[in-house]
Symmetry: D2
Subunit: 102 residues, 4 copies
């Protein structure tokens, strides 16, 4: 199971707003069940089988083209851990428990 | 006001766990008031005046050295918008409102 | 045609050196002909059809596991331009010509 | 000594071309001597004392604002190694020597 963040930036859009494009890429995720996801202020975090996740990332990237968008920069950060099962939740709670212990 | 994500990866740590190091970098943030922050599954998101935020990022990066850590890879994504005030909250709610409208 | 940078960081390797793992991921690229590539100080840049490139990135990521490596962080930056043909060379020469003109 | 890659993406520029903005950020580097740099297809790689390098990154980011640019996304990857002196050249030659040895 992998945790992957994706941030998609269309270029030459005439507007500084990105939310329309982020929303479009999230609709790709809402139409399926095998990859969990969470929107954060700097991207969307996906969790699931790495090949399924990367397939979603590819579709999210594609969804931003069209309606005048001809260049897209997409940043993908993959965290792939195979010695134990890590989830979006467990990564955060593991840090928080260490913070509490001081 | 800028929104900045920072992800810190120490190398050669003998362990696949990162939470101890992330916790250490978060203590830097907990000791101050001028930069808001939020822990996400793939990094920490900071919000505030860009120079103050980058000063925090520099201190977070430094905090991971020591106790045997001799090499650190830090990934910083800066989103600096000057035409309107954007916050971590407003970025997410702007996407969510577009999703609801379809 | 897309230009994609990939940087692969194995965790918990007991050593601060990464070159062995980078070399392993480059062998994946040397064994094929459809994706061009160039090693830079901070990653490997690939150029070609986006799906072929992403297939290579997936194989490069996989190549670093094994021999004790159980967690890998991979950073992928995709620059996908569809209004004109851009290459690794043309991107650099375009900047350099603007620098010369002042 | 640190090696740092910076990639700067202005948003809402009406054009898909980035080279004008990259050239502007490189002029910041050409006006100084303490930080070495190299242009690559996906960003500019800087080498030097970490604080000096980050100061340059801050100035490069700033240089892209103005003339209608109101939002800039900047991606910074820091590789900070303190157990031995690594340079842009030594990182690449270390990988290449491992590739030759098989």
């Amino acid at each position: 199971m992998a945790i992957v963040q994706v941030s998609i930036v269309p270029l030459g859009t005439k507007t500084t707003s990105l939310s329309k494009y982020v929303a479009r890429s999230l609709k790709v995720l809402q139409s399926q069940k095998s990859v969990a996801f969470r929107l954060t202020p700097m991207g969307t975090v996906l969790e699931g089988d790495l090949d399924k996740v990367l397939n979603m990332v590819r579709q999210m990237h594609e969804s931003v083209f069209g309606e005048g968008v001809q260049r897209v920069v997409t940043i993908v950060n993959i965290d792939d851990r195979r010695d134990k099962r890590a989830t979006m939740e467990s990564k955060i709670s593991s840090v928080e428990s260490k913070l509490r212990r001081g």
